[in-house]
């Protein structure tokens, strides 16, 4: 399991514009595995806790609004983007530059999610 998780994280981190990729426990907001670009200064625990919180909030809100389960989530901000997909209690998170190709990141996230199934 560990090698599959590590493999998934590393493949995601190789995408252009990706600053950090993590696998996070949605329930606890804790890092399961992570890969950060050298010198980028991202704090994986911080990213994990906050990304899990956003994903969880979106999931619960969508459920309450009778929209069903959330698959892909993308947050755009002035200085970066955050993308996430989830299954069961695991959330795959990518933090990327504003110019990153999100379409490609999305495809890779779903591929990575399949390897965790």
């Amino acid at each position: 399991m560990r090698s599959r998780l590590r493999g998934a994280v590393e493949r995601l981190s190789r995408q252009r514009g990706v600053r950090a990729s993590l696998i996070v426990s949605e329930n606890d907001g804790l890092v399961v595995d992570s890969s950060l670009r050298f010198g980028e200064g991202e704090d994986s625990e911080r990213v994990a806790a906050l990304a899990a919180s956003i994903y969880r909030k979106a999931r619960l809100s969508a459920d309450a609004a009778h929209l069903g389960a959330v698959s892909f989530l993308q947050l755009d901000a002035d200085r970066g983007r955050l993308c996430a997909v989830g299954r069961d209690d695991l959330v795959l998170v990518v933090v990327a530059e504003p110019s990153a190709n999100v379409g490609l990141i999305r495809v890779e996230l779903f591929k990575a999610l399949e390897t965790l199934a």
């Binding site: 606890d28 907001g29 804790l30 890092v31 994990a48 806790a49 906050l50 899990a52 919180s53």
Partner: protein
Amino acid sequence: MNVAAVESWIEAPLRRYVDDARARIAVLLHPSGQVMAQAGFTRDVDVMAACALAAAAHATAGELGRRLDGRAFRGLHYAGAVHQLFLSALEIPRGTFVCLTVFDDTSSLGLVRLYFDELRRDLIAASPAAAAPRPAPALAADFETELNRNLAALFSGPRGEAVIS
């Protein structure tokens, strides 16, 4: 949420912490069990109980850590059916405090730990400069007197009178 502190510089950092971490209740105490600040409690007897139990748990965990790792454990986490608990020490120039935080599924352990680190930084920034560290009470009689005084300060009414239930 009701936030009160024995020393006023603690109040703003604690309030920010419970807001950011979406905590249900929190209490900051001296390792001896003396309450320094509380958030979310409505009765002084609950604060007393929480402080006593937290101090005991912290002391136990510290000793276990020292026997296993040669140093005290960094923090404790208990997960209940509905509520979770995070207990950890805070080392600041004013001394060592213990913080007990209770949260539910509107927050997470990751978030609580994240904002706990910020609480420590905020307390360091807010603590009065050049003040001597608070000495631990040595005698049982002093402990009870200080405890009652602190509880009165935390639960005083609008005119400053004690409202102890």
